[in-house]
Symmetry: C2
Subunit: 165 residues, 2 copies
DNA sequence: GTCAATAGGCTTGATATCAAGAGACTTGAA
DNA sequence: TTCAAGTCTCTTGATATCAAGCCTATTGAC
């Protein structure tokens, strides 16, 4: 079956027959698929009254394990946003009762952000919903193909994830 | 080589051993790789004094072929932004001398956006730079692996691209 | 002990985006 | 011909983000 990238590549080959546009076959598909996934996730989370950014913060805390708390700085590095953005996010999640700010007992400058009971429930429910949706998207592929795809993608992501970039 | 998703999946298996998180092996890698690519592209375009959104608009016009012009509405559907955003983009590109607005001779409501000479040169140069960079990223894989990866990704993108979604 | 340098979180100001709607023009049915 | 409905672009108002800088507390060299 043809997709949008096939059409994109065909257009470039017509307009710029001198260029080798083969890289687009892989990387444009990655970018476009990621956009589709963003939209799909937004819909899945909306069923649990969560925005994608809320899910990101809550699940970072959830994955930290009991007692489900991290400093704002640790949340920054996990979610790749700036400190101003994180302050804003914590404010809003606090207002919704999904997290709470606690003073850090070991550093009087510091703050700890902790998941509330409700925050934990919402994160768990949204994760289950997300996984169901993702399984449906991946049903296009056999189990073996999924494994192969994961392995090929790992080869591309590993350099980014391991070099300081 | 391990990547960030391996660590993510391990954390979930520890915290939620009851859940099957296998879908994350593929789709979280797609999302994370797309983010890395966005950053890398921003750097590549900066060498040509272009923002990613400028590249998107200019190359849409470039791909349209001679005389390199499209209506704002056609640009909307190609770049997936809203009309307010596109008006703003065309304004800024016009100020930089990369595109120009022309009245549509066949519809007095309408406008045509046309690439200037400089806009075409900048788009062509930026595309060549992007392809060089992408080739470097893909050097991790053999030619056969790249073909396989492109095929697997196409199976996932095709439903999104062909169903009205 | 003292003080400069650093770390941690928050505040401010600017910007790009989106959603909603306004204004100008075209189309098609009566 | 007329006019209601549709199309196309631009404008407005609200929002989330980022970059830069501020303030407080901690650390380490002397």
């Amino acid at each position: 079956m043809e997709d949008e990238v096939d059409r994109l590549v065909a257009a470039w080959r017509r307009e710029r027959p001198d260029l080798d546009v083969e890289p687009l076959e892989v990387l444009s598909r990655v970018s476009r698929l990621a956009r589709h996934l963003d939209r799909a996730r937004r819909l899945a989370f909306a069923e649990h009254q969560l925005e994608p950014w809320e899910f990101d913060v809550l699940t970072a805390l959830r994955r930290a394990g009991n007692p489900y708390q991290l400093s704002p700085g640790q949340l920054l590095t996990q979610t790749l946003v700036t400190s101003g953005t994180m302050t804003n996010r914590i404010d809003r999640l606090t207002k919704k009762g999904l997290v709470e700010r606690l003073p850090d007992p070991s550093d009087r400058r510091g703050v700890l952000v902790r998941l509330t009971e409700e925050g934990q429930d919402r994160a768990d429910q949204a994760l289950a919903g997300l996984l169901d949706q993702e399984r449906a998207i991946l049903a296009e592929l056999s189990r073996a193909q999924r494994g192969e795809l994961a392995g090929l993608l790992r080869q591309l992501t590993a350099p980014f994830d391991n070099i300081p970039g």
